[in-house]
Symmetry: C2
Subunit: 349 residues, 2 copies
């Protein structure tokens, strides 16, 4: 049983943390014994763009479709390539063209990683983010110029896309603590968000045993700081999910550790696993980047492939490493990327 | 010199905290000696709606135009009146019709009020929120029904509205620590936010001595948790400002304390001063509501009327009260509304 994984290390520290996470995933596969990974690396990203004028070849999407999953590092070198080129030419292009319409991002208080919160109370929640439409619809335009100029952005919510994210959230809640919070703003945003609320109420009827509540995004952001332990699964639009997951990373103690999965839940195309953090060009190439985000992202890939116990083992190995204080400078430690990777490999059993 | 203030206590605890704040403001006026307030109370809100079917009379806006400023408590009784009726029939209606296009909300670490952050590092920032358009534009609609239904929300940004908020933020930064952060999301939202960035760059050229930087809203939300002391003035769209100011309240230790000013900076119509907190129907009528948010809101009215030193005295009296541990239950204390008000009056000198 072999999984063929397309690897896109991307830019900056992506090129360092991806190989580290692959070592960990190979060891996990060995431990399990029933499957193996076959990794194929693609050198796409900003360097590729500077050479060829494209973030990936024209047939890049076709190439990726030949793989089971995609394992991505980080994209972006804002000093050399404008974000709208690097992100929309690779990261967001893959999310869209592979119909990775669900983005899943957990946030969990980890032993050994001090939260900036005084009383973080062992929070453990997952944000299910609609990943294909909403506020990120490429729809809008401008009229007039100079002082009369007006810009319009159309947020587009389909019932299909909205319902898909919500059902996924409710199904996930069944496997966790049985509670879903919907991020809304129907008191201020009067077309899309009342629609969002209606769909949530309707889908919720199919999950009578799951707790369900709506919070306005402003209050919800504040709650993540004041009582993050109250949340289990949060379902959110593309933009709200983006904001809440960075907040999730912040209260964990570092965005550098937060993982993400862009899922094609129909399993018609490969899904893409990428950490939340960026390419951190300032520290790239020095062997001091933090690999936890990428390793945790690998755990999410194991989960999606059905190896939940193995995924838990990877997370446990990470926590054991952190608990020993073996961490990179961004987390307040003195360990190198190599030290951290070795410690995770050592604790993975 | 008499300021004629229209008072709308509104719903729930609004009816208790507004009179308390008025006592404080009257004492402040006495201290100053050069002016006085004349308060006229309007019983508009959800009770009024349940009796008359309207949140305020048809000529309510005309009536309010006869006053210098508006001092509002809280609006909403979600169990009795749907939010879209109570908010859009009073709060948002006044913001819009009085062209209160700038919303100002400070966040500051106060002595005696424990922040949920472990190292809050004495932060002190102000969010200048565009208050008239953007994501809150009442523009959008739906097409099709059932599984094919699509909802569209149009966010509308005018150069005039955007520039007004940004100029106000830069002018404010001149009187503070000289730094403006713009909340954007131009890497994901590709029509309105690049426009926002362009306007920020253009307005910024007129303020060469003011530091200026753009942060994406996701990162900015995380920064408010990780290093809130880095911010001075933040300028944000209607939605982003809404989210960031609730976060500001959260890191201060309580949303119950955060103040807000809805400004008609042209001074053509009255401005409206209202705390960020809601009507808290669950604790209303018991004399235990926290008046700090309303009192601080009163301080913002003093500032807007030009009495900055007096405003600072009010804030100092609040801080002295908090530092003595005199605070209501929501802040972890045992004081009543009366106790807190008396203590603030006592310290105001
Ligand atoms: C009640 C709601 C519409 C309002 C807003 O979003 O503007 C509130 O959250 C606020 O910030 O004053
Ligand atoms: C880079 C950006 C477009 C992206 C997003 O907003 O989706 C990022 O913030 C993320 O969350 O993956």
């Amino acid at each position: 049983n072999t999984y063929r994984i397309a690897v896109i290390p991307g830019d900056g520290i992506g090129k360092e943390v991806v190989p580290a996470a692959i070592e960990v995933l190979n060891k996990a596969a060995q431990l399990d014994g029933s499957f193996q990974f076959e990794w194929t690396t693609f050198p796409w990203g900003c360097d590729y763009y500077l050479e060829t004028g494209k973030m990936m070849p024209d047939n890049g999407i076709e190439i990726l479709k030949g793989y089971d999953q995609i394992f991505l590092g980080a994209v972006g070198m804002p000093d050399l390539v404008p974000d709208h080129i690097s992100l929309w030419g690779l990261l967001i292009k893959i999310r869209r063209e592979m119909k990775q319409s669900i983005n899943v991002r957990p946030a969990k208080l980890l032993q050994g990683l001090p939260s900036p919160l005084r009383n973080p109370n062992g929070f453990d929640f997952v944000v299910v983010r609609e990943n294909s439409e909403g506020e990120y619809a490429e729809s809008g335009g401008r009229i007039h110029s100079g002082q009369d100029e007006v810009a319009i952005q159309n947020a587009i919510f389909t019932r299909k896309g909205t319902e898909r994210a919500m059902r996924y959230a409710f199904e996930m809640a069944k496997t966790r603590r049985g509670h879903v919070t919907s991020a809304t703003k129907s008191n201020g945003i009067t077309y899309s968000m009342p629609f969002w609320d209606e769909v949530f109420a309707k889908v919720g009827k199919d999950y009578e045993n799951i707790g369900q509540v709506s919070n306005h995004i402003d209050a919800l952001a504040a709650f993540l700081v004041m009582k993050p332990e109250n949340f289990d699964v949060i379902v959110a639009s593309n933009l709200f999910g983006d904001i809440l997951t960075d907040l999730g990373g912040a209260i964990m103690g570092s965005i550098g550790i937060a993982p993400a999965a862009n899922l094609n839940i129909e399993r018609q195309y490969p899904s893409m696993f990428e950490p939340v953090h960026g390419s951190a060009p300032d520290i790239a190439g020095q062997g001091i980047a933090n690999p936890f985000g990428q390793i945790w992202t690998g755990k999410m890939m194991l989960d999606f492939l059905g190896y939940h116990e193995l995924g838990t083992k990877v997370l446990n190995a990470m926590e054991a490493t952190l608990a020993k204080g073996i961490k990179t400078a961004d987390l307040g430690g003195t360990a190198t990327l190599r030290d951290v990777t070795d410690a995770v490999l050592h604790h993975l059993q």
